[in-house]
């Protein structure tokens, strides 16, 4: 297994190199200039050229690329043009809201999606199944920004249960910060639960038709034991894959939700960086996101070992 992990980590280095190169090219191919944005709409061409020089944006692209790769290789993602701080620091500052939002959202998604999927599969074709499927369809088709705004209006403005937006006042306690994450996490959790419900249902239906399930029932095992112990455990691998992918996506920044709720997370950082053409932040954030994506998938692959002893690497 150690060899497998090393092999995957080696593959990860190649993925990182490809991602870094693609991101470097893309941010320079798209039009827009950080100097023009920084100086504002009244700046002249000469002003912009002078600032570009100061920011080191006038170096030839191959030189910029070589510098970028050399720095990235030693973990230096550069300095943000706008934030006046190292990119890694900027990302680290935004890690807490994104990480916590992901964990709370995924917990909510699991609490809804897993039971709904199981109930739906066990009651295939009955009312409970149809209700669960309809709910999943509804939640999947509601855009997060719309659901977010509706929830803000109802639960924050009308009822005053949650803050509208932001991540707490300066000096806010951890609990207060988490209170600000609850509503966006519910929005994301509801959205994500739809996918988990459908995958759980499909996977459970596959397993529930297997011979060993019939054998279990014929041995006189109770239905809860058959479903929760024998069926669910065997159905978990595809479900875990979906959970992993969802988690990786959320870690990369739930861009729309973070924007609607003005959360200072990684998604918001990337959006702001793109709008400002803050090249080092776009590059650095996307590299970190890609690394997280690969690592989460590796962790999920390793979890298969725990769930299914037949899996060998």
């Amino acid at each position: 297994m150690r060899q497998y992990i090393l092999r995957r980590l080696g593959g990860m280095a190649i993925v990182m190199f490809v991602v870094a190169t693609i991101v470097f090219v893309i941010v320079r191919v798209i039009p827009g200039d950080p100097a023009a944005i920084m100086l504002g709409p009244d700046a002249t061409g000469a002003d912009i050229a002078a600032l570009r020089e100061r920011l080191g944006l006038n170096e030839p692209l191959p030189v910029q690329y070589a510098i970028f790769l050399a720095r990235t290789a030693v973990g230096d993602l550069g300095q943000s043009i706008f934030l006046n701080r190292p990119v890694l620091q900027a990302i680290a500052e935004r890690a807490e809201p994104t990480l916590c939002l992901t964990l709370i959202a995924i917990t909510i998604a699991l609490l809804i999606g897993l039971p709904a999927g199981i109930v739906s599969a066990v009651n295939r074709g009955r009312l409970a199944d149809q209700v669960a499927l309809a709910m999943a369809m509804l939640l999947a088709s509601m855009p997060a920004f719309w659901l977010g705004l509706i929830f803000i209006q109802r639960f924050s403005v009308d009822l005053g249960w949650f803050p509208v937006a932001g991540y707490g006042e300066p000096g806010a306690s951890f609990l207060e910060r988490m209170r600000h994450l609850l509503l966006p996490a519910i929005v994301l959790g509801l959205n994500s639960s739809a996918l988990i419900t459908r995958f759980t249902r499909a996977s459970m239906l596959d397993v529930l038709g297997e011979d060993y399930i019939r054998t279990g029932r014929s041995k006189g095992l109770g239905e809860p034991v058959v479903v929760m112990k024998h069926a669910l455990r065997n159905a978990l691998i595809p479900i875990l894959t979906v959970i992993g992918l969802t988690m990786a996506l959320l870690l990369g920044g739930a861009v729309v939700t973070e924007t609607v709720f003005s959360l200072p997370g990684v998604g918001n950082l990337v959006v702001s960086a793109v709008l400002r053409r803050d090249y080092p932040v776009i590059q650095g954030a996307l590299i970190v996101i890609a690394a997280l994506y690969v690592l989460v998938n590796l962790a999920i692959d390793l979890l298969y070992l725990l769930i299914d002893p037949r899996v060998r690497y």
Binding site: D42, L83, P163, F261
Partner: protein, 513 residues
Amino acid sequence: MMRWVGSLLVAAAMALAATVPAAAQQPQPRQGGALTIATIGEPPTLDPMESTADVVGLIAQHVFETLYTWGDGWRIVPLLAASDPQISADGKEYVIPLRTGVRFHDGQEMTSADVLASLQRWMRVAVRGRTTAEIVESMTAPSPTTIRIVLKQPYAPLMALLSLQTSAAIIMPANKQPTPLTEFIGTGPYRFRERQPDRYVLLSRFENYSARSDATNMYGGRRTAYIEELRFVPVPNAATRIEGALSGQYGYVDSLPVESVARLRGQQRVEPIVFPSFGWPLIFLNTRDGVTANPGIRRAIAMSLDVRDMLEAAFGGPDFYQLDGAYYPQGWQFHSTAGAEGFNRPDPARARAMAREAGYNGQTIRFMTTQQFDFHYKMSLVAAENMRAAGFTVDLQVLDWATQLQRRPDGALWDMFFTHGPILPEPTLYSFFNSGAPGWWSTPTRNQVVSAFSSESNPQRRAEIWGDVQRLIYSEVPIIKLGNFNALAARARGLNGVQPAPWPFFWNAWLQN
């Protein structure tokens, strides 16, 4: 009987209350509290010299101060200067007396050495400072309380440039002015405490603030920091800003879509602040390169536009805009109707004939706009259709704001672009006054009139010459003004002492509870 007596007493009390002067009923300012201000986004920098972005000026004006500022009616009044400058008879020499005993946030006392170093940095770093540097012959500090500026030629906009909040000539300690700024040390009523990008900029009351003693007037006069802490939080999503205002989470919410005013009216926790005639939607034309370098074609384009339709599409109703051709609304020093008689007379047939006569033969007109400002996009859509109806071939290029900003300096890439700006108290602050700025308006007549306007120091005479400038703009069409639009903000009902202003300020404001 008792009820009757009670009613009589209540009536008497009400009558007595009615005789109490209104001022006595006003809530009295009180110290303390924290105010959360929702802004349209994260400031690109906190150095107001480096940027012309309004959000930078809005925040930084609480920390940094300029020599002069804007008083009631947009008069220029002293701030860190002790009084108006002594201007020589030929208009070339300005001697500015400085206030004494003014403390920076780090405890140092302001001297002319700080002012000189700051103004020199401004002429190196700021877009508007660099323009001014071309006219400045010398700048010296003859005494610790005096600054002397000698110009190569008379330049009336100097005072306005020394007053403006963006690309601002702020005064900082001479020994703390690196570029980019690493410390934010000013003389303002609030001091910088902390910045968490995309989360907040935190300012706290400067206890040793050296306030002026003269009466408050707009940005000028006595400034008192009643509120202990100001928190500027970026909330880029307009819908979230509205909900945040309604819920009472924010004490002040900047830049709301005007159509949301109905939701804000009659609310318990919040009330709208409408700023009428806040700014202009504008189309810039490329007067140097391509098809729009031909003034006849530019006039034909202006003739094709139905400004009312454009404003309706963008703002939804006349409550939110003014169909006004004058560049300065009534009541402003520079208000003039010269040349504006041709404003909004859409006539597609005549526009087509004018274009043909000017030599237009179907060349594509590249028109840059953006969806980042919703009204830009909506107005541009209508304008493009108006132009097509008059026979123009229009390539409407919808770009993100960053791309538009990048393309503007290259005249080979565009013929027209859509933008907007607040109504500034000094016309020369607009980029179309700078012949080097995108649009590149520079004709012999323009240079003559603009030079006369810039070098005239008599306010009344300047107002008259502005009429000539406006007439020339309508005649040569370097830009097309598309009416005025209102701005909307919201304040919590507990927040007092805030007045509508292009860069809202919170000294002299206080929280009731």
